[in-house]
Subunit: 235 residues, 2 copies
Amino acid sequence: MSATKEIAPKKSDETRARILEAALTLFRKHGFEKTTMRNIAREAGVALGAAYYYFDSKDALVMGFYERAQDDLSALLGEALPKTKGLQEKLHTLLSIKFDYFQPNRELLRALSGHIDPEHPLSPFSEETRTIREKDVSFFANLVEDAGLRIPHDLRMHLPRLLWMYQMGLLLFWIYDRSPRQVQTKRLFEKSLSIVVNLIKLSGFPLLRPVRKIVTNLLEIIVGADESAVADAAR
Amino acid sequence: MSATKEIAPKKSDETRARILEAALTLFRKHGFEKTTMRNIAREAGVALGAAYYYFDSKDALVMGFYERAQDDLSALLGEALPKTKGLQEKLHTLLSIKFDYFQPNRELLRALSGHIDPEHPLSPFSEETRTIREKDVSFFANLVEDAGLRIPHDLRMHLPRLLWMYQMGLLLFWIYDRSPRQVQTKRLFEKSLSIVVNLIKLSGFPLLRPVRKIVTNLLEIIVGADESAVADAAR
DNA sequence: GTCTATATCGGGATAGAC
DNA sequence: GTCTATCCCGATATAGAC
């Protein structure tokens, strides 16, 4: 009978949600920097200490935002992707959905884009965001799988991560795109996407083998650095 | 007689230098975040107000560091580069000198690497750092000039900026390289440099014209975005 | 113009009472 | 779980010594 643990998390989990909601509202309205924890607490109708009780820091609120976005996007993608065919269409759909989803929070993302240091908890490369990142990479892995292309093994093993980085690059460009309705990003997106897809399709072409080797060699140095850093951290 | 203006700026310009020096020392010793303006003032043997008299903010101290680095590097490069021959050797020398110069401040640079937003004064892409950046790009322009290669016009006009971005990428990788003596960066550097140089040398090869077009097209979208942003800011 | 001393404020974060 | 009080620090301002 006391299944309150799993079934009814209503208790004052709702307070937490209210605080997060208040924070996001204010972030969107006045920007991240200008929004103070005091404002957030007031907007949510709690005391400052209460806000800190639920979220260890202002950054923890951002983490809450990341997690919610991941959940929402997971649902949206799971819905839309199965209806698509081919690598290009799938990638186009995935990225379009992300752009649409993050549109209202573009300014917030800009304020957060400074977190590039893998040591920083909010960095897209940090240990703290690892599960989010890996889930995100897995979308690309599934997408490549479902596209059903024949891709050389050496490239294939890096492809999900590579596409994830392509996505991050596009998002970064988009965040700082000051053209009217981010049409520049749109242009870059369309143009680069077909190049990327063509490169992947061509990658099995025997003549391109040396080129592929050069690319995968570079990749291995970069990823290798990543892995030894992880090994480092584990010690 | 009263040529104090140009000849003897010793007055208490020296104080300014001392404050900057104190700041850098503390940044190196305790990191950027943990160093307070109060500490800096104390280390320099002046009052807090004096520190703010010379530097409007903690960030202004960083700007001072950038400017000094630019001056120092300008001298070092002007000394070393004329003794080199060929694109590869020149690029290798330039980048090696930068790595060596920044080595003691690697941690500081890591703390600053978050300034990626072109709106932020300390960003390498900001208006405030424009002259520094342009001077830096001009090193690459001269270097390409002096290497005396025949390079297609469409690529040549983008090349200095492109090489500058290559440099920034390497520096970024280096800043976060956790391998023993940044040997990973060393590997990436050697390997990528010869690829870059070979690509440039091959760029005039007629068969590669379509490839070059693809690259320059993408570049123009990206740079175009940059320029319209500048035009935007001017309005 | 150069600098000290000090007071004040805003905001992130914490301690401890209830 | 929630609130009040408090601390720390960056930043600003002011009054005044030299």
